[in-house]
Symmetry: C2
Subunit: 340 residues, 2 copies
Amino acid sequence: MKTLKLALMGFGNCGRAFAEMLMQKQPDIIERYNTEVLVSVITTRSRGNLVNPGGINLARALEELKEKGRFKSDVSSKGAQEIIETEDYDVLVEMTPLNIFTAEPATTYIRTAFARGRHVISANKGPVAWHYRELRNEAQDKGLCFFHETVVMDGAPVFNLVENTLKLAKVTEISGILNSTTNFILEELARGCKYDDIISRGREMGFIEEDSAMDIEGYDAAGKITALANVLMDADLTPEMVDRKGIEDITIEDIRQADARGKVIKLICRCALENGKAKAYVRPEEIDKADLLASINSTTSIVSITTDLMKKTSIVEHEPEIEQTAYGVFGDVLRVIENE
Amino acid sequence: MKTLKLALMGFGNCGRAFAEMLMQKQPDIIERYNTEVLVSVITTRSRGNLVNPGGINLARALEELKEKGRFKSDVSSKGAQEIIETEDYDVLVEMTPLNIFTAEPATTYIRTAFARGRHVISANKGPVAWHYRELRNEAQDKGLCFFHETVVMDGAPVFNLVENTLKLAKVTEISGILNSTTNFILEELARGCKYDDIISRGREMGFIEEDSAMDIEGYDAAGKITALANVLMDADLTPEMVDRKGIEDITIEDIRQADARGKVIKLICRCALENGKAKAYVRPEEIDKADLLASINSTTSIVSITTDLMKKTSIVEHEPEIEQTAYGVFGDVLRVIENE
């Protein structure tokens, strides 16, 4: 039996859900791939770092975190950067909190892993939005995997859909509704709810961040359409190059007027070729109520991909929870095993 | 450079569109896979059969068909069955007209190809709906490919989506709107059009068959949900086991009453586990106008797949034309190359 060792950078909700999924599906992985997947490294921002080349006991680590809020076993005195420079792992799994403006520390971690000849899975949109071409080329040159399905629409196949099911088809346009926070806010405003109430309820439900401006002003959506365009259209964009407008200026009156015309307002992302060059935007648009996009509500999201051979194909992720984010990472781990 | 030889059984709209696509994308196939794809056999019901082990000139064959309605070059005196028993090919591509009750001659052709150790691509839902488990097992035992993406939703990834992008996820439910004829009829009835006018317009547009009962009474949809259930849930169903009701009894009054309740009527296919056993139905259902399914109009179709790890994911094919059917076969050819 083969062994694959993971270094989990970040162990928040997604990392913990991934650990649970790995424990649950380990027998299936062994049966299908004759490979045991171990976690040899876990790093966190404030709860300590773990190292165990023989495999961290995930059940115990989760238990310690739950009971004490900190790890007790396998604790390393090294910092995260030193760990990934020196410790033993086959795949770096990047799940650190996102800084959409600097893409750090994620990008440095990824470069470090590639320099050591390790595969990388990133759940973090920063590196794919800011440095995709460089990172992809480095992975290709070294024969390493660089997978990032989770960056857009959690584990729902988007990058993987094009690579594995739309082979030799050339992507000419990508569009979608990719930010649940703004989707939820627009929907609740239309129902007559007050802005501040909506935000606090979204926070309780766990999908509106403390700093909601990233979502509301369209930065998150811009990062996602950039990631899609870079990977699927080889666009070489950065989020700054996206013509971005958020929903901050949308009023209840705008929504009511749209409604009277049989429309709803949605924050739409789109990237299409203009004179052979990929141009991307994020902006609120009025959508006919009979249109597919009008039915994408709450945390549900959609990506539509137009290609030369298959015209328009759309993929919808329905009301994901944290397990669906974890599955993005889990599926990428399986793809690394297949490519090993 | 490697060579892959195809036997095209059937050369109707789909076969011809596939031949065009193959000619157009041959350079890309060679570049990506270092493989030249040749067509060594073409059989038709009434226009003659072609055999050329060195590769049929597709441009000439298409031209002859267009000009004379029959082939002139490479014509064989053998019948289709004799050809696939004796002539040279690596992959049988089954595109003969469907008999949904007997699944013939498609199933016999497929068994013949497997017996000779040849891969099979089927665009025909009969064999997958009636004999999937037997055919899959035979292919597996002999290490052969048996691909059939085109059977449901043309080239839009459905079977391939689950196999290649939802790895290790267990399918617990499948639902969808899979028959465009009934979808179109219900939509036009709701607009106030007369039944007979709708049928004749659909025939002009090319997507309502001469024998429209197969669609209207739900046989086509039953075949598709059976194919999905057999492949994705290992259900071992046949179309006869589907609880089937078509749209033949839906009146304009039913549609109006539904409309007054904020609903539309759609022909829905579904298969779910009941006490661990897959149960499938096809029937008209009232769908809330705000629901995703209500926006699936005309020739657009949708499949929703629920799994243990990814909850519900849907794939939508928007207004396909014959090229999108051909892409289903084309994508399967690329997968055979990758598996060779």
